[in-house]
């Protein structure tokens, strides 16, 4: 899909989202409703204007676009973002430290010229440093569901 088409899809989604927001906001108490209703309706009008602009730009096709380049960067970005989603899912499930070790190791090992040993050492070493730094700064580390279950089972 081209950048223009993506933009068009986003414009349509925004219009629907803003209309849905205004619709939901009208059921709030009057004092809580006026602000989101007015803002969402104003946004819906602007989204409609933007959609019209995007639609005419799509039909006009005034300038050629590097569709292949855009598709490549979207694909690469989506894969990387997918990796971040998996990492966050890993934090929620397994906990911060196990998920971070795996994430750091995989990115360093697969995306850089660090070998197996250096990737492992850097991943573990940086997290050990972060653990001590976090304890010093009283930073709370996310506890995963599995981690919590193990702690509960062993009364930790």
């Amino acid at each position: 899909m081209t950048q223009r088409n993506w933009s068009l899809v986003v414009s349509i989604c925004l219009l629907l989202l803003l209309l849905a927001t205004a619709w939901q906001a009208k059921d709030f108490e009057p004092l809580a409703a006026y602000f989101p209703v007015v803002v969402a309706l104003l946004g819906a009008i602007l989204a409609a204007i933007n959609l019209l602009g995007d639609w005419s730009a799509r039909n006009a096709l005034a300038e050629p676009q590097d569709d292949a380049g855009f598709a490549r960067s979207v694909q690469a970005g989506a894969v990387s973002f997918g990796g971040v989603i998996l990492y966050v899912a890993g934090i929620i499930l397994a906990g911060f430290f196990p998920a971070s070790v795996v994430f750091l190791f995989l990115v360093l090992f697969l995306r850089t010229d660090f070998g197996l040993l250096w990737s492992t050492l850097l991943a573990i070493g940086s997290l050990v440093a972060l653990y001590y730094f976090g304890n010093m700064m009283l930073i709370e580390f996310p506890v995963g569901l599995l981690e919590q279950a193990i702690r509960d089972a062993y009364f930790l």
Binding site: A32, S80, F81, V84
Partner: protein, 495 residues
């Protein structure tokens, strides 16, 4: 005023605060020399960690990032001809030719020195502006404050370049995201979808980190391209320092220009820098070397872009009007700390305001010293594959986001906002307006409610309201004219 300034200096002199200031400078320094990240993302990275800090320490940390970012972005501009940020484009024009002539060390040291002087001029202008603006700020009532939030929102038009409708639309999304949770005027919870986590609203620090840090780092991970191919540095440091002192008039003029232009919202570092460059060129007797490696062409924009920060802080702190992305995040930082920008910044929060002034001046000095010390290793670092540092930033962002509520919802919100922002970045939509809308959402709703409940509709006829209303119309008109003439530089973070 001077007593308060001395008191603020004592507050900042606490070793713990100085350590945080140093850490902020270190982060600002790092994100400055990595093209594509920028000060806004750097501040977004640190914002979640300010929870629980006292405002003086937190502001020292954040100001440290802002102050030095424009100094360290010179590395790639001078050495490789790649702008470290939008505000360092004019630096390339004479900085890179100097490096090509084998005078990279001279160019860098002249640039660091003039940046530091510019930064101090900016801090001085901020200090002098406080007593002048104080009586004006103290006379504001809720209708005026509501109009000022509208004025802040109208700045979006000036900030989004040739896409004003999309900019305002994204700003409106920010306003609506700010309404999630408890209503300002009545005990009702809005858009919570029965998820307890959302009853307290969306945490600003998570929204900012998601919106600015995640997309930039995802872009970094997506590529294996190095920032630069080689990093070499010759001698000539002392000559460069001497250049900055020899052209003191250029430094002074450009610094003052930067500080005053920084007050004008939406101009952006790039416009201010180019303006300073052309003024210096116009006033120079011998213009022949400009663009080919004239040291004045480097000193002028560098003094300007650091001085601009002091100027930008005036409307941000005193009038609640963020003039650029970094200022919007800084304003968000104040919200997190429970400090309200506006009249209180010159009364009960005056020590904090003055601590910010001192932090700005000191951060410029520390940042400059750091730039001198790290010049050689940094020039080598820019040849690294981004995948060697980007995953560590992701780990830090996730840990930082979790500090908002210690709830997995923080991580989910981070991903949702990161995903939306990444999509907007891919389709080239402006993103800064979202944070402006988000930060000003609560204030605009609350002040409107207070204005109507106290004054009825009569508040609309108050002279101050009419004056600010006229300013809003002028700002919108200026946005339209400047957009047509192509004068407005988009504040988007672009690699």
């Amino acid at each position: 005023m001077f007593e308060a300034a001395a008191e603020a200096l004592l507050i900042l002199a606490d070793p713990n605060r100085l350590l945080y200031l140093f850490f902020g400078v270190l982060v600002g320094f790092t994100v400055g020399f990595l093209p594509g990240i920028g000060g806004t993302a750097g501040m977004a990275l640190l914002l979640p960690f300010i929870f629980g800090m006292d405002p003086y320490t937190a502001m020292a940390l954040l100001i440290g990032v802002v102050a030095v970012n424009n100094t360290s972005d010179t590395f790639t501009s001078v050495l490789f001809g790649i702008p470290g940020s939008a505000a360092s484009q004019a630096t390339i024009l004479d900085g890179h030719p100097l490096a090509q002539k084998g005078q990279a060390a001279r160019a860098l040291s002249a640039s660091f020195m003039s940046s530091m002087m510019g930064g101090i001029i900016g801090a001085l202008v901020l200090f002098l502006a406080i007593p002048i603006a104080r009586p004006l700020v103290l006379s504001f009532r809720s209708p005026d404050l509501f109009m000022l939030t509208l004025f802040g929102l109208s700045m979006i038009g000036l900030m989004v370049g040739n896409k004003p409708v999309r900019g305002v639309l994204v700003g409106i999304l920010g306003l609506l995201a700010g309404t999630v949770g408890g209503a300002a005027a009545t005990p009702e919870y809005r858009f919570t979808f029965d998820w307890l986590y959302l009853y307290g609203g969306i945490p600003l620090s998570v929204a900012v980190a998601g919106f600015f840090a995640i997309p930039e780092i995802v872009t970094f991970i997506s590529t294996k391209e190095k920032i630069a191919r080689s990093g070499t540095l010759e001698s000539g440091t002392l000559r460069g320092i001497g250049d900055a002192f020899r052209h003191w008039a250029v430094v002074l003029r450009s610094g003052a220009l930067g500080a005053f232009m920084g007050i004008i919202p939406g101009l952006g570092g790039s416009v201010v820098e180019w303006f300073s460059y052309y003024i210096t060129k116009a006033l120079a007797k011998d213009k022949s070397q400009f663009g080919k490696g004239d040291i004045r062409g480097l000193i002028a924009p560098e003094s300007t872009n650091n001085a601009k920060d002091g100027g930008s802080l005036i409307p941000t702190l005193l009038f609640n009007i963020p003039t650029n992305g970094s200022m919007a995040v800084l304003l968000g930082g104040l919200v997190i700390l429970g400090v309200e920008a506006g009249p209180r910044m010159v009364t009960s929060e005056l020590p904090l305001t003055l601590t910010i002034v001192w932090s700005l001046a000191l951060a410029n000095v520390i940042g400059t010293a750091m730039c001198f010390l790290m010049a050689k290793p940094i020039s080598m670092l820019t040849t690294l594959n981004p995948n060697k540092f980007a995953p560590f930033l992701i780990v830090l962002i996730c840990l930082g986001a979790y500090q908002a509520n210690y709830h997995w919802g923080d991580l989910v919100i981070l991903l949702v906002f990161g995903g939306i922002s990444w999509l907007l970045k891919m389709i080239d939509w402006p993103r800064i307006p979202f944070i402006i809308g988000f930060v000003l959402s609560d204030g605009s709703e609350r002040y409107l409610f207070l204005s109507i409940s106290r004054y009825g509709w009569e508040w609309l006829s108050r002279p101050s309201v009419l004056i600010i209303g006229a300013l809003i119309i002028a700002a919108i008109a200026a946005a339209i004219i400047m957009n047509r003439k192509g004068l407005v530089q988009s504040m988007e973070i672009k690699p």
